[in-house]
Amino acid sequence: MSALLEVEGLKTWFPVRSPLLRRTVGRIRAVDGVRLKVEAGRTLGLVGESGCGKSTLGRTIVRLLEPTEGEIRIDGIDVTRARGRDLLAMRRRVQMVFQDPYASLNPRLRVGDAIGEPLDIHRLVRSRGEKHDRVAALLDKVGLGAEAMDRYPHEFSGGQRQRIGIARALVLNPELLVADEPVSALDVSVQAQVINLMRDLQRDFNLGYLFIAHDLSVVRHISDDVAIMYLGRIVETGPKTKLFAMPRHPYTRGLLLSVPVPDPTRRRGAHAPLAGGLPNPADPPPGCTFHPRCPYATEICRLERPELRPLGDGQTAACHHAEEVAASGRAV
């Protein structure tokens, strides 16, 4: 029984060209060997900071970007190099929700037309009445009435626009949604509404989610499993509660310790857990790419790049000192 989404050894590299002659002088390894799995009806939260490649990964899976290497399988079917009809078929099964609700809808298109367009593209309806009904049903489902159909995006708030974007992603009845920071651009109180909506939809349609985010608190609320990404690679995975309670990778631990908790009695105090910044993706450090910032780093970390290894309880981590990290006590 294969998972809904399986990604194996995925790489997306971008050439760096010299300005004049456009020769390739280097490569940015935005996604540098990723393996992950999403099951139907479950959410994998993919967490990382800006520059880690999570958005690139999301776009590659949806084939907005072409993978340089690796495999993407939907329900066991290899769609990595799908073209034409096969690509169109894949698009019916995998859809994307975008981060910016103000930019992801064509301002000139009425809401009903925007949501109904995929039905035209894939020729899934035979009459305007049928299209109208399907769109109206979806608008109802996402909490906006059918009256929204004749209005333009600019008449709606950010949270409402995001709902429209979700409706548009669902109109083809996909099995997998890749959500790229879907609530990051929304107000705090609106975030809660959209997160709740997404959970309800997941339950109703048995959707699988690849939920990409940088906000650990949000990820905690919507994910079943979590994967942490750093400089193009997954450095840790595991079931949510276990990963948050006992992280095995120093970066995960650092991230968790950095999040300001809305409770002044639990102030972190001085000493930010993670010093420095992300290394240059075109010229990453040798060995473990995290070692320059790592409080647990030793000689081996500089020489040998750790692979993701299973550590029991469904957790994996790419660290030579994972056991030591696990023993360091609670991070949350």
Partner: protein, 336 residues
């Protein structure tokens, strides 16, 4: 005449800001009042559209005239009413005694000048220093904000630095004249969580070193819990609650504060489903009569529509603008 240590450093009183738009004039800020003591960190919290950024701009005299202006109230800073000053007079205050940092560092950094030069310019605007001396000060400041190899970095251009570093440079520019008050408008919202932790640490350590007060404007309650001494919550152009930070999180009294605290996703909570606040913030042109939160408030009663509730003192140092505030929980033992 009160001594400087007794009166607050910044006291905003009954501030009102009007904005002229294509659809008519409206009040972005209906009535805002708060005080900030020397060396204190006040967190001004609210969601987008509540007017917190406008408050900051009003204090700094940076409202986009003539579209927006202070229509009532005073802004007392160290004994002077900033609202009554001319643009020229405000210009002398800005950068010297009042500093401000913004969400997007690139907006205050000119891409065609070196970072060190921009610091020098900020410094020499207010102090009679020679170029060499000013440059040394600039480097020292870059060092103080945690930029490695400050002497070399001072010769860099903004685009050569990372987001976190640019934010540090902006902080350096705002603080180079050692102002007594720093207004920080969402300074870490655009940063990663790891960089955010570094910048918050930096702001706190600078506060100690330079003895300055910080008005921290943010929508992130985690940030507020981390750095603030006191908190003021804003909604629809008014302050709806002020309290000591521990008190506010332990016992929120205004229904909005209460609902907000329950609706945010938290790393340390066990809840799976988030509690949401019904409805959305009304546009400033369509605010309801009386209490502007009543349309969304689970505790609203007819009285709430009659008149805007006053900011009443419910406990020492704790005020809330509500006729039917949330009950305070019994005092807890200190958490270990």
């Amino acid at each position: 005449m009160s001594t400087p240590a007794e009166r607050p450093l910044l006291a905003v009183e009954s501030l009102q800001v009007g904005i002229r738009s294509a659809r008519g004039t409206f009040l972005a800020i209906e009535e805002v009042g708060f005080a900030l003591d020397e060396g204190e960190v006040l967190g001004l919290v609210g969601e987008s559209g509540c007017g917190k950024s406008i408050t900051a701009l009003a204090v700094m005299g940076l409202l986009p005239q003539p579209v927006a202006r202070i229509t009532a109230g005073q802004v007392w800073f160290d004994g002077t009413d900033l609202a009554a000053l001319t643009n020229e007079q405000m210009r002398h205050m800005r950068g010297d005694r009042l500093g401000m940092i913004f969400q997007e560092p690139m907006t205050s950094l000119n891409p065609v000048y070196r970072v060190g030069d921009q610091l020098v310019e900020a410094l020499r605007e207010h102090r009679p220093l020679g170029r060499g001396e000013a440059w040394r000060e600039a480097v020292a400041m870059l060092d103080m904000v945690g930029i490695p190899a400050a002497r070399d970095r001072a010769s860099s251009y903004p685009h050569e630095l990372s987001g976190g570093m640019r934010q540090r440079v902006m902080i350096a520019m705002a603080l180079i004249c050692r102002p007594k008050l720093l207004i920080a408008d969402e300074p870490t919202t655009a940063l990663d969580v790891s960089t955010q932790a570094q910048i918050l640490d930096l702001l706190l350590s600078l506060k100690r070193e330079l003895g300055m007060a910080i008005l921290m404007i943010t929508h992130d309650l985690g940030v507020v819990a981390e750095v603030a001494d006191r908190v003021a919550v804003m909604y629809a152009g008014r302050i709806v609650e002020t309290a000591d930070v521990f008190e506010l999180f332990r016992a929120p009294r205004h229904p909005y504060t209460d609902a907000l605290l329950r609706s945010i996703p938290r790393l340390d909570s066990e809840l799976d489903r988030l509690v949401t606040i019904e409805g959305t913030v009304a546009s400033p042109l369509e605010r309801p009569s009386g209490c502007s939160f009543r349309d969304r408030c689970p505790r609203a009663r007819p009285r709430c529509a009659e008149a805007v509730p006053p900011l009443g003192e419910l406990a020492p140092g704790h005020r809330a603008r509500c006729y039917f505030p949330v009950e305070a929980p019994a005092p807890q033992a200190e958490r270990v």
